[in-house]
Symmetry: C2
Subunit: 331 residues, 2 copies
């Protein structure tokens, strides 16, 4: 492959079925994701348009995957290609498509906090996989990328879950029905739904948050939970915001995990008083999210929740965006 046209020209050439000028460099945005979605512990997630991570990827003549630069991570992420989730999953992809001859240089631009419960590692990994798949000419479908991103998750948090990576790849609301075999189902994204996310800057490592959960639960509580999961899924298909809201109740995990999040119940009250459809923990926290029917109430909610956290002497970040229905995009 020649390397004698400028990167800018190459980016402009990104068109489907354009095989004349193979793309050599690409910059991709992949979205943050809210996993668990209240009652949907370990099975439901959705993507947002803000925040997200960006990956710039360049094909080179020297085989192997290299991390050239990471910005926005405060030096927290490994530059070692074998340890970084982005490079490791890209490497895994190249092995699968039998293209270990390919050379790849990666710049990772973190645009979201790490360890926030917003699928930070997923966003990076998915941006990298989306980029390499585009550069290789879309050899795999978005759904086929999910297992590669799960490998990245395993590296990042010791547990290869899919409820962040699947919505980050596919966009919208996604159900992970089963892991063995992997069965990922795209659910409808209700029109006009907004997400209001607040990240209180306290430390809640995913592993600790998982360990807090009891391994045994009462069957009657599990029945309540799956009634709500079924209601939430029905509400998405019916575009019924009221049913979605009634179903956004978690009797099993939230009561324990919310203890780690300062001002959790007060933030819920703020959300519901300001017209939220529902409110809950994003992933394993400490970020919280509200779903709303419009941008204005989403902004009101994040503003009031941040004011509350400020009073509690806790720094915070807030994000308001529509639910991302498309997944990653080329920038």
């Amino acid at each position: 492959m020649s390397n004698n046209i400028s990167p800018k020209e190459e980016v402009l050439n990104l068109k489907k079925n354009d095989t004349k000028t193979p793309l050599k460099v690409i910059r991709v945005f992949a979205p943050a994701t809210v996993a668990n979605v209240v009652c949907g512990f370990d099975v439901l997630g959705f993507a947002v348009n803000e925040p997200g991570d960006e990956v710039e990827m360049r094909l080179t003549e020297i085989p192997g995957v290299v991390i050239k630069k990471i910005t926005g991570d405060d030096g927290k992420l490994p530059l070692d290609a074998a340890k970084n989730t982005v490079s490791a999953s890209v490497q895994h992809y190249l092995k699968h498509v039998n293209r270990l001859d390919v050379g790849v240089e990666i710049e990772l631009h973190k645009k979201m906090p790490i360890g926030s419960g917003l699928g930070s590692s997923s966003a990076s990994t998915v941006a990298g996989l989306f980029a390499i798949n585009k550069l290789m000419g879309d050899l795999l479908s978005p759904k086929e990328l999910v297992p590669f991103a799960m490998k990245g998750e395993e590296l990042a948090c010791g547990y290869g879950h899919a409820d962040n990576v699947a919505p980050a790849i596919l966009g919208g609301f996604v159900l992970v029905r089963s892991y063995d075999p992997l069965d990922v189902i795209s659910l409808p994204t209700p029109v006009g739904m907004f997400a209001a996310i607040v990240y209180p800057e306290v430390d809640v490592p995913t592993k600790d948050a998982r360990q807090m959960i009891r391994s045994k639960v009462f069957l009657k509580d599990a029945v309540t939970q799956w009634g709500n999961v079924a209601g939430l899924v029905s509400g998405l298909f019916m575009n019924d915001f009221d049913l979605i809201g009634r179903s956004m109740k978690d009797v099993l995990v939230e009561p324990t995990r919310s203890i780690l999040i300062p001002g959790f119940e007060e933030m819920r009250a703020i959300a519901m008083e300001n017209g939220a459809i529902g409110f809950g923990i994003s992933g394993s926290g400490p970020s919280v999210f509200s779903l709303t029917k419009d941008e204005e109430s989403a902004k009101r909610i994040t503003k009031a929740q941040q004011q509350l956290l400020h009073k509690l002497n806790i720094n915070s970040k807030a994000y308001v965006s529509s639910v991302n229905a498309e997944g990653p995009r080329v920038l």
Copy 2:
């Protein structure tokens, strides 16, 4: 109200908004129902067109509810109006609509086995409630009848559940999202779906079947279960028979309850070998059901399952019908 036109004339007069000739007698069919629906323990049910019960109801001049006759019950059901679920729930309805002045005579024609796991008491109760509501001029909506039918269930099996009565009243697949407050959601009925039901004539009382279930379960199994519940509900909305089939797995209740059902695993094998979408216990058993894509495979399945049971020296009954999408009907 006068009583001088013949019953036949009155039935013919059953038309909506016909207030000139108040109806005095009516005969109603209400469907059998499959509750639990594999992974949807206590939250999902659906109605079938065969079997079902029939109630003939007549308004009289003497206030109070009377059971005039019961057929097809082998003398098992009480004629005492306070103890019979049909009369008791009709009485409850009349009290609610403030019409205790009304006199009602009921004939109950059982057309399905009692204690079979097919919602036998529900079918009778719902037929009665649908009949009295029609005779009173549809004072309540079908959904509003659900709590009255639940009272009947409480009388019949000591537990006021809704996953039989709700589909019997509303038809199709129904989700009971919550009991407190009651939240019942009609799900789509896939076009062309058939149910193949086999009732092995062994005794499995609902109360015993409930007591077999463990009160605590592993969270990881509960997650598997609600992933499947979400998949099943999604499959109904997407009219995706394959997804419905993949989701029809019960890791929590079926492994215990199926022990009480002779030839259960063999009947499952017969169902799946003959193209069933899925197979499971109906309610708390001993009836089993298969969902199929057509009538022919449903018939093949029930025939082969009955042959198996015959070899095991167990009498059985079989029913093949399309999924009932409408609920009760006036005969």
